[in-house]
Subunit: 203 residues, 2 copies
């Protein structure tokens, strides 16, 4: 479908919307992330990516030498963005904020806008379980979370902030995945805050 948008004379999109150069690379990766979220990694084909990005098929092979490369680059981009988002969230919070609540909100933020981005995240992490090439990215990603959340918990009075952050983060991941898989949507903030306080207190 969509036979490469023949000419699209006057009507239709500005056609100048088509990104060029390096921006095109990112547009393709955005398409990959969207597809992974909606239909899984197996639905990522050169043709589908091109179609979603509204770019010609050949652009996918020009910017990425293989499908493998396309997927790893997408994971890297997702990680980069989410880490930046996390740091921003924490940095821009008022100093008066409760560190535990702040930490949990920062973890839970991506839930709201795009449930899809969450699926993408976990799908790509799983991919890392199989492809060693992705391990490093997965590691950086989790490390960034551990550092950020650990610092907050330390501020909250935890005596073993690293271990506490690990558990809190894991619990959040687990709850999110279960929620995705079952389709429910209970409130996650309350139970996580309880856990956070329990951990920090019991130290």
């Amino acid at each position: 479908m969509v036979p490469s948008t023949p000419i699209a004379p006057t009507t239709g999109k500005p056609d100048q919307a088509r990104p060029r150069g390096a921006a095109r690379r990112e547009a393709l990766l955005d398409a990959v992330l969207l597809i992974v979220a909606e239909s899984g990694t197996d639905a990522v084909t050169h043709r589908r990516v091109a179609e979603v990005a509204e770019l010609p098929l050949a652009s996918t092979t020009y910017w990425f030498k293989s499908k493998e490369h396309l997927l790893t680059a997408a994971l890297e981009l997702a990680a980069k963005r989410d880490i930046a988002r996390l740091r921003d969230d924490v940095a821009s919070a008022p100093d008066s904020a409760d560190p535990v609540v702040l930490a949990i909100d920062a973890i839970l933020t991506p839930t709201e806008p795009v449930r899809t981005s969450l699926i993408t995240t976990y799908a790509l992490l799983l991919e890392a379980a199989r492809r060693p090439a992705l391990r490093a990215v997965a590691e950086d990603w989790t490390q960034a979370y551990l550092d950020t959340i650990g610092a907050l918990l330390e501020r909250a009075g935890s005596s073993q902030p690293h271990d506490d952050a690990e558990l809190l983060l894991a619990a959040a991941d687990g709850l999110l995945i279960t929620q995705l898989a079952t389709g429910h949507d209970a409130d996650l903030q309350a139970p996580l805050v309880r856990l956070g306080r329990s951990l920090v207190g019991t130290s």
Copy 2:
């Protein structure tokens, strides 16, 4: 490869190893689970499944009307087996066992023998996030865990066993996924026991 095992006269496998009838159905599903673990859901093709199961291609379409059906049936089987395994583990433990440790060991058991089965589990759960048809299975699966672990925590003195089980389970899932994704293998039992005691105590 393995061109349907032409005749395999005397050497080679007994050829009678080939399951027939309904057993064949399960052999195919086993193959699906193995493939998902090793190469992801996208690697599940009729041909590959047949090859791994050492059965003819047509057997896959005879027992399952579509690839979709093949995947959902595999998830159901994995869930059924794991739930039975969980209950057995708990039921066969001595009464003197510490309920918290028992609960955590029961959750962590599948780690040891087949790291692959874990990948399969999470991969299929993610699949459920996209295919509503799988939601019910995912729900039963998590519910079985919640009930079992909840009962143990109640025995351990928890005043809100359901909530505690939810958090403990989530933390275990999160830690396992991170471990899979990064390739590390730290000890998970200790931190989870700490969390379990912290939750039960703080009630």
